[in-house]
C-alpha cells in the first residue's frame, strides 16, 4: 500500500466516521423532538453533547489540530455533564411536572423536522460545491441540528424544554465550527462560556417564574403580561 492510498483510505474512513457521528447528533435532535418526558429530554441532550465531544475529538485527530481536543473537553464537561446536571437539579428542586406539554403534536413536529433537514441539505450542498465533501456533509448536518433546535423551542410550552432546545441549537453551531478547518479555539471557548452564562441566567429566571406562578408553563407569563385572559 503506497502512502497516497493510505491517505485516500484514511480519507474514506475519516469521512465515514465524521458522517456517522454527525448523523447520530441529528438523530438525537429528532429524539429531543419526539421525547415527552422531561428527564428523558435532559438525558438525550446529555448524550447529544457527549457525541458532539466525540465529533470534536475525531476532527482533532483527523485534522491533526490539538486545540480541538480542548473543544471536545469543554463540550464533554460543560454540556455533557454540568448543564444536564444543573437542569436535573432544577427539575428536582422545583418539582416540575415530568411530562412535557407540546404546542404542536408529535407527528406534525416530526414531519416538519424532516422537511427542515431536507431544506438544509438542498441548501448547503450547492452552496459549498467547491468545498471538501466532509465539510459539506458536516455543514448540512449542523444546519439541520440548528433548525431542529429552533423548532423544538417553538413547539414546546415548558421553559425547561425551551432551554434544552436552545442548548441543542448551540450544539449544532459547535458541530459546524469543529468541522470547518481553522476555527480558532478562542471562539469556541467564548461560545461555551456564553452558553454557561445563559444557563445561569435561565436558572435564576426559572426560580423567579416559579416563585410567581407555581409553574414553568410560559403561558402564565403571557397572562401576566396582559396578552391573554
Amino acid at each position: 500500500m503506497t502512502s497516497a492510498d493510505q491517505i485516500v483510505a484514511l480519507g474514506h474512513v475519516s469521512y465515514d466516521m465524521a458522517h456517522l457521528i454527525g448523523a447520530v447528533i441529528l438523530m438525537m435532535s429528532f429524539g429531543l423532538l419526539y421525547q415527552r418526558r422531561l428527564t428523558a429530554v435532559i438525558r438525550l441532550y446529555s448524550f447529544q453533547a457527549m457525541v458532539l465531544a466525540l465529533a470534536a475529538a475525531w476532527q482533532a485527530f483527523v485534522q491533526d489540530a490539538p486545540h480541538l481536543y480542548a473543544s471536545a473537553l469543554i463540550a464533554l464537561l460543560f454540556k455533557g455533564i454540568a448543564v444536564p446536571f444543573a437542569l436535573n437539579w432544577l427539575v428536582r428542586r422545583l418539582g416540575i411536572h415530568r411530562t412535557v406539554e407540546t404546542a404542536l403534536g408529535i407527528g406534525p413536529t416530526m414531519i416538519a423536522g424532516v422537511g427542515l433537514v431536507a431544506l438544509s441539505i438542498v441548501l448547503v450542498l450547492p452552496v459549498t460545491a467547491s468545498a471538501a465533501a466532509m465539510t459539506r456533509e458536516n455543514l448540512a448536518l449542523a444546519m439541520s441540528v440548528v433548525l431542529l433546535g429552533l423548532l423544538m423551542m417553538i413547539t414546546r410550552r415548558n421553559a425547561v424544554t425551551q432551554v434544552v432546545g436552545f442548548m441543542s441549537l448551540e450544539n449544532g453551531l459547535i458541530l459546524a465550527a469543529v468541522g470547518a478547518r481553522g476555527m480558532p479555539l478562542v471562539v469556541e471557548i467564548s461560545i461555551a462560556f456564553s452558553v454557561l452564562v445563559a444557563m445561569a441566567l435561565f436558572g435564576i429566571f426559572f426560580f423567579r417564574i416559579r416563585e410567581r406562578f407555581d409553574s414553568l408553563d410560559i403561558a402564565y407569563l403571557e397572562t401576566f403580561r396582559g396578552e391573554r385572559r
Partner: protein, 668 residues
Amino acid sequence: MIIGTVLGGFLCLGVLGLLGSSLAATHRLIYAGCLVLAATATGDGLFHMIRYGQEAVPAVVLPFGLPWLKAHFRLDSLSAFFLVAVNFPAALASLFGIAYGSHVPEPRRVTPLFPLFLFAMNGVLVADDAFVFLVSWEAMSLSSWLLVLSNHTDAAARRAGLVYLVMAVFGTFCLLSAFGLLAGPTGAFDFAAMRVAKLSPLATSLVVLLAILGTGSKAGLVPLHAWLPLAHPAAPSHVSALMSGVMTKVAIYGLIRLLYDLRGAVGWEWGFLMMVLGAAAAALGVLYALMQRDLKTLLAYSTVENVGIIFIALGLAIAFRDHGEVALSALSMVAALYHVVNHALFKSLLFLGSGAVMMATGERDLDRLGGLLNRMPVTGVCFLVGACAISALPPLNGFVSEWLVFQSLFKGPTVAHWAMRFGVPVVGVAMALAAAFAATCFVRAFGVAFLGRPRSDAARAAREVPWPMLAAMAVPAVFCLCLGVFPVMVTTGIATVVEPLVHVVLPAAVLGWPWLSPVSLTAGSYSATMVLLSGAGLMITTLLLVRHLGTRAIRRAPVWDCGHQEDIANAQYSADSFSQPLRRVFGQVVFRAREEVEMPPPGSTAPARFTLFITDPLWTGLYLGLQRVIDAIADRVNHLQFQTVRRYLLMMFLTLVLLLLVVAVRQQ
C-alpha cells in the same frame, strides 16, 4: 476664488450673528455685510458669464468632507447664471433687512441664520459633487426651517415648520437616492464621473422620477406644494422673499443640473409629465391664490403658479430634445431661465412690499388693509409694478418670459406623438387660464390693499417705511421694467448659458434687435421697445389732445358715495367679495367652497354673519389620506410589539426558513 471668499464671509457673519446678537448695531452690520457679499457674488456671476462664456472655471478640490471624496467645487455658466439669479434678490433682501431686521418679532432668532441661509444656497450652486450638493441642500432646508420657526410661539408657525420639515426630508431622501443611483456601485459621487456614467433604462427612469420629486417638493410643484403656502408666509418678510423668490430657484437649478447636465438623455415622456404637472401647478396655484385673504399666503400660492410655468418650459425642453428639435429645446430652456430671473425679481419685490405693509400696519389680512397708496406712495407704486409684472402685462418682464413659454408651447405639436399633440393644447389652455387668473389675483391684491379707503385703524395710521426698504423695492421694480424693455439682451445672455446643455446656439437672426421673434420672423415677434414707445406716444398724444381740446374749467362736486351718507369702509369691495364670481365658478368644484349666510331673526340686533368654507382637495385627499394609511399600517404593526415569547420565536423561525427557501430556490 471670489465666490469662495463670499461663502466664507457668509459663514463669518453667521458666527458674528450668534455671538453679538444682543447689540442692535450688530444686526444692521450683518445685513449690510450680507448686502456687500451678495452683491459681490452677483457681480462675480455676471463677470463669469461675460468673461468665460461656456467655459467652466476648473474644478477646485478642497480637502474636507468625506475622506475618500474630498469636496469638489466648480463654477460653470449655469452656476454663474443662478448665482446672479440668487444673489441679486438676496442683496435686495439684505438691504431691506437693514431696516426691517430689527422690526421682526424675534430678531435674534433671525439675524444669525440669514447669512447661513445665503451660504447654503450659494453652496448648492457651486457644488461639484453629490456630497457637497446634498449637505448644502440640507443646510438650506434646515436654516430656512429655523427661520420659519423664528416665531415659534405661534401655533400656525409650528405647524408650518413641521409640515416643511417632513417635506424637506422627503425631498432630500429622493435626491439622495437619485444621486446614489447616478453614482452607481462604485460610489463615484463627483459630478464629472456622473456625467459619463452608464445607467440601465430602469435606473435612468428612477433617477428622473426621484429628481422631479426631490426638487419638485422644494420648488412647490403640485401636489408636493403643501408646505410652501404654510412655511413661506410664516417667516419674516425678507426671508419669505428669499424662500419664495430664490430658494425655489435653487431647487430648479438642482433639477436642471440633474436632468440636463448629469443625465443627458431623458425620454420625452418625462418632459410630458413635467409639463402636465407644471400646468396643474400653474392653474391650481393661482386658483388657490385667488381664494386667499392673507397677503403673504396669496404670494406664496402665486409662487406655486410660477414654478408651474417654469416646469412647463423645462418639460417642453426635454420633449423637444428627445425628438431632436434642439433649436426648440434651446428656446424652451431660454424661456424657463428667463422666467426664473423674472420670478426671482418680482416675487422678491412683492414679498418685500408685503413686509413694508406689515411694518407700516402690522396687518397682512387684505380685509384689514386699504387706501395704502395715499399713505405709502413709493411702496404702492413699486408693488404695482411687481403686480403688473407678475400678471404678465407688457412692457414688463413677466410678459416676455410667459410669451416665450407660449411660443415654445405652440411648437409642441412638432413632436410627433399623440400625447404631445393632445397634451400641448390642454397645457396651453391651463396656462392661459393661469395667466388670466394671475391678473385677477393681483388686481384683487393691489386693489384691496392699496386702493379704496382704509378698513382698519392700523391701515389708516400707516406711514411710509424707511429709505433702505424703499430702495430695496425700487431697484427690482426698475429691473422689472428693464428686463421687459430690453428682452433681446437677456435672451442672448441666457442663450450662452443654455448652449452647453442643449449643444445649440439660438440663431442670431431670430434674436435680432429690437424684434424678439423666437420661432421665425413670420410666426410671431415682439418688441417691447416698440410697445413702450408707441404706448408712451399714444399717452402723450392723448394728454396733449385732452389739454388742448378739453375745457380748463375746474368743477368741484361731492363724490358719489353709492347712496351712503356716512363713510363705511366695509361697504367697499372686500377681498372675498372680489373673488366671489370666480369662487362660485371654479371654487365649488375644485375646493368645495361653501358659503353660509346666517341672518338674525327679525327684531334681533345681532349682526348677520357670512362664513366661507374652503377645503383643499389635495390636502384632505392626498396628505390626510396618506396619513390615514400610515396610521392604519402603524396600528397593525403595533400588534407585533405585544406577542408571546413563543410567537416571537415562531416569527423568527418562519422568517429564517422563508429566507433559506428563497436561497434554495434561487440556486436551482
